[in-house]
Symmetry: C2
Subunit: 141 residues, 2 copies
DNA sequence: CTCAAATCGGATCGAATCAGTCCGATTGCC
DNA sequence: GGCAATCGGACTGATTCGATCCGATTTGAG
């Protein structure tokens, strides 16, 4: 019931990127590492995944870097978490193709997990990067 | 962003216990293991933790076993998950006494995580064992 | 056009956590 | 009083995750 450190780092990194979005159109991994305290190689790994997910656009070569591919208001915690950790699923039994549970046919727990998963995803989708940058909490609890 | 297998097992086990609650006042780990397909040693470990958390009351010796210490309607997924995995916290930085983050003072992300944690816990607390036993889904998503 | 510097991308290694198994302590029945 | 059955805690093995290192690619300068 705890997301991975990488996902946590990714949120911090994306928030920092959102802050620099308007200032300098492009920023690099070294700058973010120095600013957030996240190890440089870890930032590079995050850039790879976030770029693959389409949340950021990276440019290589001298003077390269990356930038957000969408406005901060349209990027939510759910997008970042799913980009790093994959689909939001509390249990393994709700994944398609998994049939390890012996009582799957009579399992009454499964539909409830789907409801919980939806609620969790909704909570994450309700927080955007713009809100994270401004620091204003909205009443989602 | 996925709870441990033990927590998942614990939910299944507690649901099975709730079903047998009125039938035979007491049931043992071996019975539950055979019914749910969970390995017997794993069930024993779950019994230990759930008993320590006060969700079930176990009796040792011949003819021993365990039973729910409270009515199924008053036990929620949040109780079970917290008993197995500890406090519900999405990130490590919200734990008390942890100050590994270099930008903790200016971190605007932290209060949002608290809101998300509250939302997740609310989603889990909204599902009781009684609902799990009956199999009726309520509109929580 | 060639060289050099800086960046992203993938692959490898080590560590921490977690699930599973085994043995001991305790209790009730015979 | 002895025996059997059950919970409780401790150890071992495996899997996953995080961090580091090296190579491929691209741009800018000379």
């Amino acid at each position: 019931m705890r997301l991975s450190s990488l996902a946590d780092y990714a949120v911090v990194m994306m928030t920092a990127s959102a802050r620099h979005c308007g200032v300098s159109g492009r920023l690099n991994a070294t700058l973010v590492a120095g600013e957030t305290g996240i190890p440089l190689p870890t930032v590079q790994k995050l850039v790879s995944r976030l770029s693959a997910a389409g949340l950021i656009e990276s440019t290589r070569g001298t003077g390269g870097g990356f930038r957000l591919s969408r406005p901060p208001a349209t990027i939510t915690l759910a997008d970042i978490v799913e980009a790093i950790e994959g689909p939001i699923a509390m249990t393994a039994c709700v994944d398609a193709g998994k049939h390890d549970c012996a009582i799957e046919a009579e399992c009454q727990v499964k539909p409830h997990w789907n409801a919980v998963n939806g609620a969790v995803r909704g909570a994450l989708a309700g927080v955007s990067l713009a809100q994270l940058s401004s620091g204003a909490t909205h009443g989602h609890a």
